[in-house]
């Protein structure tokens, strides 16, 4: 259920990991000293991943981490534009433009980037999300300039030819049809559309099909000029780089790009929900699904830490509440989760999701969830369970720094959404401070019916035989 639309231009081996949202250590202070032999978390190498920020006169930001031990370098450009910025009738334009960004400039015509990256065995791709659009080139360290040059060029010189546009439209529509064919995807889309009536999170990132069909060249050009500019972008570099050299090199490549007028956000607020909402999908599928979404605050609220721990209590590992009560004992589901993504620019959702065993009705799954919620609201969780969940959150936070690309993704996402870096400095402490009473309080505050959207997927059974089949023939 990743919200990102990853454009699988290279072999599809890059998986966007939503779980990586809380991923960075700025200093040894963050490391849980308890139980460690050495106070230095990186005793063997003395290496501490430390992000450094540099801002250029044209408004472009560079955030880099020197990691001398990484076998690769990741070069990423993050634009503050996503489906959150789209207007009615023009949904999907952020993602469509992301596709167009690969169709060439006068200097690097269509296909040249792929060829250049391929020649050195690198990876190049892009993804569009609600809040951002990002492009990256991962290569062996000495090839970092390939990404630098191409990204600087296409920030300002995109051709956007009609012929390329029509070809990409076909590809995007294929991508959209992939979504239609997935019953779960369809349900998630409908729940979002119900939960958000006014806010642009109402729309799927890829856009509605009629809009994709009608986006014009001038729509795309206007959108490109509005959002693609140095003062709306952040460059992220992680790898065995020399910081000062990198700063000057990026300055030479990107420094001459003109700043534009910053885009007007103008994003409508979502009014407070005043009652239960409901949506149903009937589709050929084998298993039923229930999803329940609640409006909750994002990272800006102190409650986001309690909500993070709550989601781990619910479905972090097999000792979690939902796994134990719905999947393991008295099994009704093959999978049951409580998920929360605090790093969003707009309002966040806390959602429950379960894929039931065959023949279990979606309302049965819902009742199970409601029992769990009622219990969380009534009785404080045990201190053992709370400590376990906090340990899991903090461990995941530390473990995910280990990937060069993952670290870059995290920094880029934070920069694009507007999360201050000191969020990371205090993250572990904030998680440690969450109490059982905090958990009970957020469950009582947010997991309430007037704030809820329910989605059911009712499988309509096996597909009917096609017309050309002989009677009684079993068609797989």
């Amino acid at each position: 259920m990743s919200r990102a639309h990853n454009d699988h231009r290279s072999l599809p081996f890059l998986v966007f990991l939503p779980g990586l949202f809380f991923t960075l250590v700025l200093s040894a202070l963050l490391f849980p000293a308890k139980g460690m032999a050495s106070p230095d978390p990186f005793p063997a190498s003395g290496f501490h991943p430390t992000p450094v920020i540099h801002t250029y006169p044209n408004g472009l930001r560079l955030i880099y981490v020197e990691d001398p031990y990484s076998p690769i370098v990741t070069f990423q450009v993050w634009y503050k534009v996503g489906s959150i910025d789209e207007r009615r009738g023009k949904t999907g334009i952020s993602h469509f433009l992301e596709h167009m960004m690969f169709t060439g400039t006068p200097r690097y015509p269509h296909g040249v980037l792929d060829r250049k990256i391929n020649a050195v065995g690198g990876q190049s791709n892009a993804f569009t999300d609600y809040d951002f659009t990002a492009y990256f080139e991962n290569t062996a360290p000495r090839y970092i300039t390939i990404g630098e040059k191409v990204e600087a060029d296409r920030m300002n010189n995109l051709l956007l030819s009609d012929k390329q546009l029509e070809r990409e439209r076909k590809i995007v529509l294929e991508e959209r049809r992939n979504d239609y064919d997935d019953p779960t995807q369809k349900l998630v889309e409908q729940v979002y559309a119900k939960a958000f009536r006014v806010h642009p999170y109402h729309n799927p990132v890829i856009g509605w099909e009629p809009d994709i069909k009608h986006l014009s060249r001038s729509d795309l050009r206007h959108y490109y000029r509005t959002f693609y500019m140095p003062n709306n972008a952040t460059i992220i570099v992680v790898g065995p780089v020399n910081g000062p050299e990198l700063v000057s090199q990026v300055g030479q490549t990107f420094g001459s790009l003109p700043a534009g007028s910053p885009p007007d956000p103008g994003i409508p607020d979502e009014p407070v929900q005043k009652g239960l909402r409901f949506t149903v999908v009937h589709k050929p599928a084998m298993l039923p699904v229930t999803m329940m979404a609640f409006h909750v605050p994002n990272f800006k609220s102190p409650d986001s830490f309690a909500l993070t721990v709550l989601s781990t209590l619910l479905s972090g590992g097999r000792s979690s509440i939902l796994y134990r009560t719905m999947v393991y004992q008295n099994a009704v589901a093959v999978d049951a989760e409580g998920d929360y993504e605090p790093l969003t620019k707009g309002p966040a959702l806390f959602y429950f999701y379960a894929q039931g065993l065959p023949k279990v009705k979606p309302p049965v799954l819902r009742r199970k969830f409601e029992n769990v919620i009622a219990s969380l609201q009534k009785t404080p969780v045990s201190s053992a369970a709370l400590e376990r969940a906090k340990k899991q959150v903090i461990s995941a936070f530390l473990m995910s720094q280990e990937s060069t690309f993952g670290l870059g993704m995290m920094l880029g996402e934070m920069a694009s959404i507007g999360v201050p870096l000191d969020y990371l400095d205090t993250y572990v402490d904030h998680i440690r401070q969450v109490s059982a009473e905090d958990i009970r309080r957020v469950a009582r505050t947010y997991l309430i019916r007037s704030n809820e959207t329910i989605g059911y997927l009712y499988p309509t059974g096996t597909p009917r035989n096609p017309s050309f089949a002989r009677p009684n023939r079993i068609v797989r």
């Binding site: 391929n118 298993l287 530390l398 017309s467 797989r476």
Partner: protein, 481 residues
């Protein structure tokens, strides 16, 4: 969320990646001197790409330990790999290895399932067990401070599982639900039928998960027998990557696995006989109707090679040219020029046994015959027309440049070490691989294409809304399943 079918779809992808290997030997210079390799009991080789070394030792019971230290952050990944994958499932009982693996964390002689769950989560790390085709793997990742606890639990799962009846029934039910859900997804449907058609009763003929039919035949006794026969120290490899020294790793492994001896009645069956010199299949297209889909998923191919085949490296280069990259011929013609697909690629699924050579794509149903025809043409051209020096050189560089990505996280390194050991690729892999790739010539690529591609024998599986594809059974080589 929807985990099962995701992993299964990506099996084919993983196989393609296996081929898209390795090698760059001269990245940026590390700061500080490289530590000298320690003396015995380890065999050791350089791993220049991450400024480290690989260390290997064998316990007296035959268990092999392989370690690459990479002390960047205080995290360790480990793998316990047992050569007890689904390729060793008893005949007609596909899924036994997978179910056995799924029961490892459902109770040991000293911990019941809930205790295992709780203690694993208390370490803050992850621990999963799953069966692939060649191996059952227990995978862990954890902060260095909690390694001893998590590894201790992992070893308990491997050494002392009790396979409770209740847990067996429960996991069987879950497995069946997962298999039912697969029917909604074109990927696993196409893949399973494709492999079954090509490999039948061979080791790779059935999916690791089994099928609804084969799983329903499995009894608890099958699981216990499989465990007794197949889980043995001399068929087990333990690997570590991350913040750990080889000495510490060896000590840890010895402390828990040192006294493991194989069951007395160890009449280990030979692997089911694979491939060999079976005649090529005849040209065949199988249509599977899924009227609810807008798209058709297509897998087409022929029998391929093993990872250890001497032609592997030339086949690797050949495949990259044909369909292994975004600039490959298939991608260029079908996606870039004609915009007919969202993705298309080809690969050799080459592991312990030979898997297929395949081309896979998804397309809007009415385009299906067109994409199939284009793919066939490109395949024939590859087989019959010579490749240029330039193409081969570009491809070699591409493959060499990809190498760092195989070792850019601890998890990848730990898994790669398992493959190197299980497929007998040798500890010198990290320097041998680039050498072998550099030795590939246009001539060897041409030979590989000529020997390994068989466009006249393609097995093609189409899953989607068949009436919309315009394809019809013809009573000969096009059939409906």
């Amino acid at each position: 969320m929807k985990p099962e079918h995701q992993t299964r779809i990506s099996l084919a992808l993983a196989a393609a990646l296996l081929l898209s290997g390795c090698a760059d030997t001269s990245p940026a210079t590390p700061s500080g001197p490289t530590p000298a390799p320690p003396p015995s009991p380890f065999e050791t080789r350089d791993v220049p790409v991450i400024h480290s070394h690989v260390y290997q030792a064998t316990l007296s019971n035959g268990l092999v330990v392989v370690v690459i230290p990479r002390p960047v952050v205080p995290v360790v990944s480990f793998r316990i790999g047992i050569l007890a994958g689904s390729s060793r499932d008893p005949a007609g009982k596909g899924g036994v290895a997978d179910l056995t693996a799924s029961l490892l964390n459902r109770g040991t002689s000293t911990r019941d399932a809930l205790t295992l769950f709780r203690q694993i989560d208390e370490t803050g790390g992850n621990l999963e067990a799953a069966a692939g085709r060649d191996m059952t793997t227990v995978s862990g990742k954890v902060l260095t401070s909690d390694l001893t606890s998590l590894f201790g639990i992992a070893s308990d799962m491997v050494l002392h599982p009790v396979f409770p009846e209740k847990e067996f029934r429960h996991n069987l039910l879950q497995a069946r639900a997962g298999l039912m859900d697969e029917k909604d997804h074109a990927g696993p449907v196409a893949r399973n039928l494709f492999y079954k058609t090509l490999y039948g009763d061979g080791p790779y003929g059935h999916p690791s998960s089994g099928t609804l039919r084969s799983v329903s035949r499995i009894t608890l006794q099958d699981i216990r027998t499989f465990y007794q026969k197949e889980y043995r120290p001399d068929r087990t490899i333990v690997t570590f990557a991350g913040d750990i020294t080889p000495e510490k790793a060896l000590k840890l492994v010895k402390s828990v696995f040192g006294s493991w001896s194989p069951a007395a009645t160890s009449s280990l069956q030979p692997s089911p006989k694979a491939d060999g010199t079976k005649p090529l299949p005849s040209l065949k297209t199988i249509l599977v109707n899924r009227p609810q889909f807008a798209q058709a998923m297509v897998m087409m191919g022929t029998p391929g090679i093993r990872r250890n085949d001497p032609a592997f490296y030339s086949a690797l280069v050949m495949n990259e040219i044909l369909g292994g990259t975004t600039t490959s011929r298939l991608n260029h013609v079908v996606r870039q020029k004609n915009g007919l697909v969202y993705y298309i690629y080809s690969g050799f699924d080459a592991e312990r046994h030979a898997g297929p050579f395949f081309i896979v794509f998804q397309t809007f149903a009415p385009n299906t015959p067109k994409v199939i025809a284009l793919s066939q043409k490109l395949l024939r051209d590859m087989k019959t027309k010579p490749v240029t020096d330039k193409e081969v050189e570009t491809t070699r560089n591409n493959i060499l440049g990809q190498f760092p990505f195989r070792v850019d996280t601890d998890d990848r390194i730990a898994s790669l070490l398992l493959y190197i050991e299980a497929y007998d690729l040798g500890l010198g892999y990290f320097t041998d691989y680039p050498e072998r790739v550099r030795e590939v010539t246009p001539r060897s690529v041409q030979e590989a294409a000529s020997n390994l591609l068989h466009p006249g024998h393609l097995v093609t599986v189409v899953v989607g809304p068949i009436p919309k594809t315009g394809m019809r059974p013809n009573g000969k080589d096009i059939v409906v399943q």
